[in-house]
């Protein structure tokens, strides 16, 4: 993710220039075909030795291998075993860990909540981020102040965001709870399933808006002024102009953000959830990744928790393939 942020200034510079500036390097990072043709071709660099590029890649590959592939292989392996936490006895149980998990109504309930939660967080974080970006892009006077105010929430770490969110929704002192009481809604986070889910979504969306805002804003600034002017001459309705001209030109940004937001909702909301449920999930909603943590790190059930993380890995894999195959087709980079 930091790779994408690093590329930000490059795309910002593209305001007056051609479309090349709008294309995020991040797509290449994700393995997408960047279809670079025409004016934007990068300079080809020749290496004196064929091994040199591999040498330069080695640190990155080593990190990926040690921190991603190796643990993944271990997780897959231990998902077929029932293991004593201390590593004394481990029994091969085949698919039992998987069938146990998939048969459990509890687990399926968590999966259902995770799906709804991910959909809601992604939808609201993206749409509110886009709305704010469009509005901020239109502001002429004092726009730097608006932008800074909208962006700085991003600098808050997820657990801190969770903590602030929890205080807002605290049963005894939360201002949002006081506010809701005026309308006759008694919010009880930690006690009522729906109320807890509601506050989790609110805090998670709030945390992610600035990130989406930054990307949408720079995407908007990458749209050539000439195109906008031409559109303004052809059509007077601002909404229609946005719908037919601006939005399609923003599609690559939106697609990139969609993937990032889905992974955010699935994984990075862990800190928010942990703080909101205060270490005690009880009958509160939790996501799949939190369940992996509860069973693996708190319950010391390595086999079961490994099986769950493999399932999660498969879900993300399928989701990513789906997004690249079906949604990316509709995205035009040039």
């Amino acid at each position: 993710m930091s790779t994408a942020t690093d590329l930000l200034p490059a795309s910002r510079g593209g305001t007056g220039t051609q479309t090349g500036g709008r294309r995020f390097g991040a797509f290449r990072f994700f393995g997408g075909q960047s279809k670079s043709g025409g004016e934007g071709v990068a300079k080809r660099v020749q290496f004196s030795s064929p091994f040199l590029p591999y040498l330069f890649l080695a640190p990155q590959l080593a990190i990926i291998f040690i921190f991603f592939y190796w643990p993944s292989v271990q997780a897959i392996q231990s998902s077929f075993y029932l293991e004593d936490p201390f590593g004394f006895g481990s029994t091969f149980v085949g698919m039992t860990n998987y069938t146990d998990v998939l048969k459990s109504g509890e687990y399926l309930g968590i999966a259902r909540f995770t799906a709804v939660f991910t959909a809601l967080v992604t939808f609201f974080a993206l749409s509110i981020g886009l709305l704010l970006a469009v509005k901020a892009d239109g502001v002429i006077r004092g726009n730097a102040a608006y932008k800074t105010l909208l962006i700085w929430v991003y600098a808050i770490a997820p657990p801190v965001a969770g903590l602030i969110g929890m205080m807002f929704f605290d049963q005894h002192i939360g201002p949002i709870v006081e506010l809701a009481r005026w309308f006759g809604w008694d919010i009880k986070v930690g006690l009522n399933y729906f109320d807890t889910a509601f506050s989790m979504v609110v805090v998670s969306v709030w945390k992610q808006i600035p990130y989406n805002f930054i990307f949408f804003l720079s995407g908007l600034q990458g749209i050539p002024v000439s195109v906008r002017e031409a559109a303004a001459i052809d059509c007077r309705s601002g909404f229609r102009r946005f719908w037919t001209v601006i939005l399609p030109l923003l599609a690559p940004t939106a697609f990139f953000l969609l993937i990032i937001n889905v992974t955010y909702a699935l994984f990075d909301t862990f800190g928010v959830i942990d703080v909101m449920v205060k270490d005690k999930a009880a009958n509160n909603p939790i996501t799949l990744v939190y369940k992996v943590y509860m069973d693996g790190f708190r319950g010391n059930d390595l086999g079961g928790s490994s099986a769950q993380s493999v399932i999660l890995m498969l879900i993300v894999f399928v989701l990513t393939i789906f997004q690249f195959r079906f949604i990316e087709r509709r995205v035009h980079y040039n």
Binding site: L82, E83, D84, P85, F86, G87, F88, G89, S90, T91, V93, D100, E106, Q171, H172, K188, V189, G190, L191, N192, Y193, K278, D279, K280, A281, A282, N283, N284, M294, D295, F297, R298, G299, N300, D301, G303, G304
Partner: protein, 432 residues
């Protein structure tokens, strides 16, 4: 900044060389805040009292995190000498045969005497095997006790109840006086595990899980336990009991603010409550049911014990034994008791605190230990259940559903028993 850092590095290097001759041992624990500081003070006292061993305490976060890091370290052969493990995790480490050296063996091998009877009754069995041999060394022990809002009682003109029947009698008057009669902070520990201990009822088969891992089953569909939760639900509907979720502090807060008459907390809450309570308070034992025959026995200990990890040299093990001896000395126990609010675990330390007049000054500090000193029953010694932290999570989930009206008490306990027994069966396979 750099200066500060290099100074720290220098002093570290210096301290490392100064204890060159001593045997180094490490202690991983799950205490933070004031309790973590007290651990550092205890270690310092030990290091100053002798020169053969140098003890380094390391905080690993929470209880769960300490256990998880201890396990990960053991698997890679980097385990500490001493690991603190909490009550619910006891079965995990004790059933991993070969992970720890029983504290009693360790102490005897190092040439010290070990007298089981020196420990107070409620502490003696929890971390021991079915023959009563100490596997873990009890360290920080607490009991669930009932804190009393003195103002509320005065205003309503009632006495603190000893039994739940008496509570039912005074609750309407407290409600009339404008108070929430009862709140609690942990339904699993206070109203489930210690419901079984205080009322002397069997919690699980196989002698509460002590005798064997295989075929151990929960007995949470016991009609008495169901009656307890039916009552709680009824009390909640009538406004005699309030429930703010599974979080400890959300429930404690109401009592601190003086809005509740009784709060079931931990004997270890005393220190903090002295600072936060906005009204005068006292404490008494966790109530039991007068209608249950043989009820009124001691409670299980909460808190944690210290385990000596295996795979260490004799020299280091002897140091651990020395430290355990040091830790159970009356003076250190008394110091720890006063500094943290956890109960003293030996009879000698209790007598020392009495002689010193500590309880005259702070009577609440004595309630926990007195409750642990009550006569023991067959079922008040402890429980040994695998994957118990997860079973607690199931209970928390179902209890939350009871009070939000999503399920009935009977169905909730059926679910807990079913899912809990599945986990116990899984655990039996891992330990096999």
């Amino acid at each position: 900044m750099f200066k500060k850092f290099s100074f720290a590095a220098l002093s570290f290097a210096f301290s490392a060389t100064s204890s060159f001759a001593a045997t180094n041992i490490t202690w991983w624990h799950g205490m933070a805040g004031r309790n973590g500081e007290v651990i550092n003070e205890v270690s310092k006292k030990f290091n100053e009292a002798q020169s053969a061993c140098a003890l380094t305490p390391v905080s690993k976060g929470t209880y769960e995190e300490a256990l998880a890091s201890g396990i990960a370290a053991f698997r890679s052969g980097e385990q500490p000498n001493i690991l603190q493990v909490f009550d619910a995790g006891a079965a995990t480490i004790i059933n991993a045969k070969g992970a720890v050296i029983p504290a009693e063996d360790l102490i005897i091998k190092a040439g010290h005497n070990f007298d089981r009877n020196a420990f107070i009754d409620g502490v003696r069995y929890f971390y021991a095997d079915s023959e009563g041999k100490f596997v873990g060394m009890p360290f920080n022990s607490s009991a669930p006790i009932m804190y009393i809002n003195d103002e509320a009682l005065k205003k309503a003109g009632v006495e603190a109840p000893k039994t739940w029947e008496e509570f039912e009698a005074v609750a309407p008057k407290l409600k009339e006086a404008g108070y929430i009669p009862l709140v609690q902070s942990q339904l699993t520990w206070q109203f489930t595990e210690n419901f079984f201990s205080r009322n002397n009822i069997q919690f699980a088969t196989n002698n509460n899980g002590y005798d064997a891992v295989v075929d151990t089953q929960l007995k949470v569909t016991d009609p008495n336990l169901i009656m307890m939760f039916d009552k709680l639900k009824a009390w909640k509907d009538e406004g005699y009991f309030a429930f703010y979720g599974a979080g400890w502090n959300d429930n404690q807060k109401v009592f601190e603010e003086g809005k509740a008459a009784f709060w079931i907390g931990s004997s270890g809450s005393f220190g903090g409550l002295q600072k936060t309570a906005q009204m005068p308070f006292s404490a008494t034992f966790l109530p039991y049911w007068g209608s249950i025959k043989g009820a009124g026995t001691n409670s299980f200990i909460g808190g944690a014990a210290l385990f000596a990890m295996s795979g260490k040299s004799d020299e280091e093990n002897n140091c651990v034994a020395d430290f355990f001896q040091f830790l159970t000395s009356p003076e250190i126990q008394y110091f720890y008791h006063k500094a943290t609010g956890y109960v003293a675990i030996t009879k000698a330390a209790y007598e020392l605190a009495q002689k010193d007049g500590y309880y005259k000054e702070k009577p609440v500090a004595e309630v926990g230990i007195k409750q642990l000193l009550l006569p023991a029953g067959d079922w008040s010694k402890g429980y040994r259940l695998g994957f118990y932290p997860q079973i607690r999570e199931i209970m928390e989930r179902e209890y939350g559903r009871i009070f939000s009206g999503e399920t009935t008490v009977k169905d909730a306990f059926d679910t807990i028993e079913k899912e809990g027994n599945e986990l116990l069966a899984r655990f039996a396979k891992t330990a096999g």
